[in-house]
Symmetry: C2
Subunit: 219 residues, 2 copies
Amino acid sequence: MKISVVKDILEANDRIARQNRELFDEKGVTVFNLMSSPGAGKTSLLEKTIEAVQGKIRLGVIEGDIQSSQDAERIARFGIPVVQINTGGACHLDGNMIRDTFEEFDFDELDLLVVENVGNLVCPAEFQVGEDFKAMILSVTEGEDKPAKYPLMFHESRVLLINKIDLVPYVDCDVEKIREEALKVNPHLTIFDISCKTGEGLDAWCEWLVETVRKRKSA
Amino acid sequence: MKISVVKDILEANDRIARQNRELFDEKGVTVFNLMSSPGAGKTSLLEKTIEAVQGKIRLGVIEGDIQSSQDAERIARFGIPVVQINTGGACHLDGNMIRDTFEEFDFDELDLLVVENVGNLVCPAEFQVGEDFKAMILSVTEGEDKPAKYPLMFHESRVLLINKIDLVPYVDCDVEKIREEALKVNPHLTIFDISCKTGEGLDAWCEWLVETVRKRKSA
């Protein structure tokens, strides 16, 4: 009984996500859904990414948080379109919440829309929002056992960013082991080692992102 | 419609949690529900706590994970009763899952049962399991904005352990600010600054815990 309710919710969400996707396709906007545990560095990554790619591609951002608008304020400083969703308790974004932001964006003026999900390594991976792909961040402080213990997000993501590699000397964490464990769950992952603090590895990620957006635009 | 379904699930869970609680009361077992983001250090805290309090109080542990039994294996090394729950996708433990472990424990032989929840700063806070109190860990790597952004868990917890304080020199994090923000959400929090790596602050936590268990026993 409980399972059928959950299944209905997921199916209804998939339907709305497909409609969102149709609009994004029509407008030629690349959309990625950025997920991670709380504090792994989603907003920091966005700040660094915006700095690097602004002028090359036109970005918009949807910020998802249970409450507060701190993240949207951080992004708004860059003068790009940003909408804050407050889920009011819900642990993930869904297709409906994304659709509700559409009147705030002029998609003819965007190449890329980034959806920053609620900080949660579990639930967001279950809900499509109409994205082209999912990207996730794992911080080296979280440990090597995370792909085995939280496999769905690793399985659903196209990109894994291993963040805070500047902290590797101070924590018991083997980045190579994270990579191995993540690829066991999903051999198709594109992996970037990065530090949003020192900037290490961000060039490669930003180049990949710009290239991906351009390819989709010309497809 | 969706809301009423969720409400029914929460009410049904509260009923089962109350039944669990009656059994724990009858047996004089203190139960706490340990929650945090993935990788904040729940299992490491348990390892250090078991080392320190074994011989003073008799512990049992329930490990909650979506999948894998790595955490239960880490705890089993101490020769105490431990049961691994695999939720198979679910992002939190509930009263029913806890009840299902009861035949694995002899509660007459326990003073304290620790329930280590699924790593998730959101959903576990909504579900009672029959605990006396909730304790949560926040790692300094997660940032000072977490109490404002994920208030429910801070609101529901009696204890906040601020972990990985050995990393403070290497991250942009002000522990005093975490404390302030957490106390804004819940002025009744008992807060311990700890490092499971260096051992700093663990004595105070373990003394508090042993004292809490003894008080309940003699109540």
